[in-house]
Subunit: 376 residues, 2 copies
């Protein structure tokens, strides 16, 4: 047996894991490409043509390091939200920023509150610092705001996470409900409000941004509505002192020059964003209709995906998902009890529109039971 340098106790206790298996890994395992890639909540409408143009122009400049201050992108994001650049920190997607926030606020053994079945990458980051995850079940397919508050108080939690609109159910809370939670949380608990999908839902779900409040950090991304999942760029909005503290540990050269340029260009083209939002909304209606025609129920969604209630238990929905995967359709599904009756992430898809044969096959597969049998 070789001798290994010992890991820290926190690291030694962790498994080696990929929190979200990508479609590429599944393609490698099966030996064939997916015909439809609708399981990662990406926007197949892609980024604005102007963003693509800027990336193409910038390609030869990649010999230069990125600006470690992310200055131009921060200025653009600050102007977009009516805050100051000092209220913005840019990271390698929301994932990167969640990792940093967890390191900033949770020591080994300390409690962190989230919802059971919510974003697994957040849980991964909590585990990576040795935090103790406290999970509150969903209620009526929504994260349970009262339950989260109760858990925070009971556990004296350092951190609490909410995504609004929610992943994986696509549900949402109105701004006044979120604000009531914010106002009743202990001032010593940091509230992470992950708004990855916020551009795609109703404006009424967005609380006004208040950068005076030191215990709220809002997370935004270019991965969803802006169609730039592959470029890895997101940002957090918060009180100045809190935002400055990210400097203590972040990888200053972590967000590529390309990502900073693309993000800035994406913010500039709000007309394109509005067009995508309209198309996604139309897509949600279409998915709901397809589901209904097949005797399945699409849940209301404020995101670019739709959770479809398969009308039975988790085992059934899992089989349905596996059937779709076998047919070359990449989707995912919630795994937590109660949510697991759904398959998820039939996104509003440009690709699907381009490939009507695939859509037709799903739509024309007859009665519910026939269709479900065919898929399973």
């Amino acid at each position: 047996m070789p001798v290994y340098p010992p890991f820290t106790p926190v690291i030694a206790a962790l498994p080696s894991t990929v929190p979200f298996v990508g479609p590429e890994a599944q393609q490698r395992d099966s030996g064939r490409k997916f015909r439809a890639r609708i399981g990662a909540n990406e926007s197949s409408f892609g980024p604005s043509p102007r963003v693509i143009e800027r990336m193409i122009e910038a390609a030869p400049d990649m010999w230069m390091y990125c600006d470690p201050d992310n200055h131009d992108l921060k200025v653009a994001a600050a102007a977009h939200h009516g805050v100051r650049p000092q209220n913005i920190v840019v990271g390698e997607g929301i994932d990167g920023l969640l990792g940093l926030l967890t390191r900033m606020y949770a020591s080994p053994g300390e409690p962190v509150v989230t919802s059971l079945g919510a974003y697994p990458t957040f849980n991964f980051h909590v585990a990576s610092v040795g935090g103790r995850l406290v999970s509150v079940p969903y209620e009526n397919d929504r994260e349970n705001l009262d339950g989260l508050l109760e858990a925070v108080r009971r556990e004296k939690a350092r951190l609490v996470y909410l995504s609004n609109p929610d992943n994986p159910m696509g549900s949402w809370w109105e701004a006044h409900d979120v604000n009531r939670l914010i106002e009743t949380l202990p001032e010593t608990t940091m509230f992470i409000l992950d708004e990855a999908y916020c551009e795609l839902g109703p404006a009424s779900a967005l609380p006004a941004i208040d950068v005076e409040r030191p215990n709220v950090v809002r997370m935004r991304t270019f991965s969803k509505a802006y169609g730039l999942a592959g470029i890895r760029c997101g940002y957090a909005i918060g009180e100045e002192t809190v935002i400055a503290a990210f400097e203590k540990i972040r990888n200053h050269y972590g967000v590529s020059r390309m990502a900073q340029i693309a993000g800035e260009a994406a913010l500039e083209d709000q007309d394109y964003l509005a067009e995508v939002v309209r198309k996604v909304e139309a897509g949600r209606h279409r998915i709901a209709a397809i589901a209904a025609e097949n005797g399945l129920q699409a849940l209301p969604s404020a995101t670019n995906f739709v959770a479809v209630d398969c009308g039975s238990d988790g085992a059934f929905a899992l089989k349905l998902m596996q059937g779709l995967l076998a047919r070359g359709v990449f989707i995912r599904k919630p795994m937590a009890a109660g949510l697991d009756r759904c398959i998820q992430r039939l996104t509003a898809m440009r690709k699907a529109q381009r490939r009507p044969s695939l859509v037709r096959r799903v739509r024309l597969s007859g009665s519910t039971s026939t269709r479900q049998k065919a898929l399973v």
Copy 2:
């Protein structure tokens, strides 16, 4: 006074800092652009034209998330080095990987050994986990291998860092010297061998890669010889169990789709790399000649920059650097005692070749003292 959620003790004790101030920040401060950007050890030869082509082709695909397994790039890097993909982990530059290794091996208060004046971003990451930095002075402008070993033994250090070839001096050790250090280090100490510049130096400075040894991790990057500093992509090579442990904490979606594509394409074009290496070597000779004509001494370099001994003390070299900055030339200099007599990073530059007026002005500035006065 507002109440803040408390940081962890490690974070609370840290300053908010940018370990490397970028040229963009200096440009913003001064209100004008640098005429020459030769302070960040970038390659202004840029990436291979084939890499640029691949990035341009890939731009419209950025709506898709990156492969979190970095599969294709790992396969390519593994083939390049004659190891297995399981021996490779990809990160957001070497910086990102240094941050992870530090978290994996150093708990708060534990000793980590490096050289005084060596790469500050490593020190930043050690501080970010609350590690205790033990710094060994350079000897004869090289990192002191015996001194590092002695410090590791004395302190029972968890981690020891060496860059070879070295930054900021450009010096290097031969492979047999590095191997002697590796063989005498305690098996329980992880040795980080940062080889960011290794393609640019003599092959004799590169120890054979041995992925059976669990206490050595080698770091490589696309930022230097491959000309892709802005894309943020590097990788580490090591023993399989050690490499697997990165999965415990890394941001799986941290390296963009663009970076993975660019890195893979860069590895494919070894002819272009060889051409860059030749040009950089010629540039080193040219810088040495310019320095000599001006009564300054260029130190031997195995990198894409040259440390120029300004023949006096740190205060003098600092003035010289400030003079160059004021003239629109972005350079840096070592700050540690003994090394600080140098200015640094007059790189072999395509830009400089394109702009002979700038070079001529430096070359034709008369005698040493006149020139130095002019610059200061």
